[in-house]
């Protein structure tokens, strides 16, 4: 099989899987019915995208893997999602900050992915970008509401942004598979997106009366499968049924 393509697909899809899982935890517990429904909707979109990527990955693998075993039967060290998306739902501020920092990247990434030489990938990107443009709008609007809302909301969202900032740099790291796929015109050269990413993020933060963190140190590891200690608990739940009842259909 085309291992680079396979790994590249996981590199995209795992982010959505883990973020979708985190958002799914919130379902029924949102601060209002409207935000509850909206976050569930984002989770739904992400899982929908995940299925497209993993189905394609299963095809690329060409063995007995399927979307579910790819999603749920890997050991933790083989999940290559960025550390950002596994961070916990500490409060709604963290949920929105995490979403915003991811959505802006995700939107820019999919915009480019539409031009992939791989037609399947380009098609998934075209379908997904409509959904993700809604995600960016939702999270950006809430960044502004919380930043320019009450004193408490301002402090909370600033705190969340400060805490999660350390995970943004990793979004632009490139694995071997990434580099190969970029060379082949399949993958997106994320290094070209970085400046624009921070510029856009900064503009929204400014508009939200928030400060842009000035941090020299960043965290990494997710793309190499070295996660934070949160990941293990996410996986115990995500994998439970497939692990406890292997090889069954549902």
């Amino acid at each position: 099989m085309n291992t680079n393509l396979y790994n590249y697909l996981l590199g995209i899809a795992d982010n959505s899987l883990i973020l979708g899982q985190r958002l799914g935890e919130l379902c029924g517990h949102g601060p209002s019915l409207e935000t509850d429904i909206a976050l569930t909707n984002i989770s739904l979109d992400l899982f929908g995208q995940v299925r497209s990527y993993y189905q394609y990955a299963a095809k690329v693998a060409g063995d007995n893997r399927d979307e579910d075993t790819i999603a749920m039967m890997r050991p933790e060290r083989e999940y290559v999602s960025v550390l950002l998306v596994e961070q916990p739902n500490t409060d709604f501020g963290y949920v929105i900050a995490r979403q915003f920092l991811f959505d802006v990247y995700h939107y820019m990434f999919l915009t480019e992915l539409q031009n992939s030489k791989d037609e399947t990938l380009a098609a998934i990107a075209k379908k997904s970008i409509k959904e993700v443009s809604y995600h960016v709008r939702f999270s950006s609007d809430w960044i502004k509401r919380l930043g320019d809302g009450t004193e408490e909301s301002h402090a909370r969202i600033q705190n969340a942004i400060n805490d999660l900032w350390t995970y943004t740099d990793e979004l632009f790291h490139q694995t071997e598979a990434d580099k190969e796929m970029i060379n082949e015109g399949v993958g997106v050269d994320t290094s070209k997106l970085k400046e624009q990413y921070y510029k856009h993020i900064s503009e929204v933060l400014n508009e939200a009366t928030l400060e842009v963190p000035d941090l020299k140190y960043f965290q990494k590891g997710g793309k190499q499968g070295v996660h934070t200690e949160h990941m293990g608990y996410i996986l115990t739940e995500l994998q439970y049924m497939q692990r406890a009842y292997p090889n069954m259909s549902w």
């Binding site: 379902c27 739904l44 899982f47 509401r145 909301s153």
Partner: protein, 318 residues
């Protein structure tokens, strides 16, 4: 208004309902009609919202991505139903916040069925099949109820609910056709959800004093026992079709009434749960109240932000 005037309004009102005309929020209505509708509609809305919890419990553990997506979509629909119903109830002069307060203080009720735990994946099938199945039977009747906003909400909701019901049946079917473990899981879920589902239709007719009034207002078109019978008659063949057994040794076909006879509900359990002492009453309320309390700063921020934006617009206009 004189008593005579009121009487004439009331008569006209009852006549409109009798003619199957819809009552709209701006129309005159008796105070009891308004209060009864606020109570029942908000209870219905609360049931949708609390009903998100037992199923929400399985989102993180759904056994396949396809099922996870379907479950998320279903729970989201329930949130949506809650939204319509709260909006429809607001037309009667109560705010959503007031309704939440009534829920959180225990003044307002919600469907007792959601005080049972969803303990295995098969429960997600059983909830869809049985609980949504029972709910639809109640709700289809309500599509012709007299209060316009409620009737319209019901039409919209029924369509989605019947999709959920089929989905739940399909989950159960898949398990029933699966490995012996899966089949046992499905049977176990049916065993646990069967009787609570029958309880969803409320007390027996002779212990349901409000039925007559509700019938008149078309809030009910059939009695509790009639609806329960309809549910049993509809569900038993569905269970048989997929090889599952209804957990009722007294269940048998009655040729004469062309329906099933069935065993006695455990009314002690029914009342225990209604009175707040079911397996999950406390947990459900804790989850709702803590979502509400933890969300206060978010809702406050949204209000303050909206005011600031409004001010900015006004300043620009000046």
């Amino acid at each position: 208004m004189s008593e005579a005037q009121i009487k004439s309004l009331e008569e006209e009102f009852e006549a409109r309902i009798a003619r199957d005309e819809k009552i709209e929020p701006k129309d005159w209505m008796p105070e009891k009609y308004r209060k009864t509708h606020i109570r029942q509609m908000s209870q219905h809305a609360h049931s949708e919202i609390v009903g998100m919890l037992p199923e929400g419990n399985w989102i993180s553990r759904a056994p396949s991505l396809r099922r996870k997506v379907a479950l998320l979509a279903k729970v989201q629909d329930e949130g949506g139903h809650g939204l319509y119903l709260y909006s429809a109830t607001e037309t009667l002069g109560i705010t959503r916040d007031e309704m939440f307060q009534q829920l959180h203080s225990g003044k307002a009720k919600y469907s007792s069925i959601f005080n049972y735990p969803a303990v295995t994946w098969a429960d997600i099938g059983a909830i869809g099949w049985l609980v949504d199945g029972a709910a639809i039977i109640n709700q289809v009747a309500l599509c012709g109820t007299s209060f316009g906003p409620y009737a319209r909400a019901m039409v919209r909701i029924c369509k989605e609910e019947s999709f959920h019901q089929r989905q739940g049946y399909e989950i159960t079917l898949k398990l029933a056709q699966g490995t012996p473990e899966q089949k046992a899981m499905a049977q176990d879920a049916l065993n646990r959800w069967w009787w609570p589902s029958l309880m969803m239709f409320g007390p027996k007719d002779d212990e349901s004093p409000n039925t007559a009034q509700s019938m008149k207002w078309k809030l009910k078109r059939k009695t509790n026992d009639e609806l329960r019978q309809q549910f049993v008659d509809q569900t038993v063949p569905q269970a048989e079709l997929i090889g599952l057994t209804i957990p009722d040794p007294e269940l048998k076909w009655n040729e004469e009434k062309q329906g099933y006879d069935f065993g006695e509900i455990d009314w002690d359990e029914f009342w225990q749960v209604v009175k707040g002492h079911g397996p999950c009453n406390k947990e459900r309320m804790k989850a709702r109240v803590s979502a509400w309390e933890n969300g206060e700063w978010v809702r406050d921020a949204a209000i303050v932000y909206a005011e600031k934006q409004q001010d900015k617009k006004l300043n620009k206009a000046v």
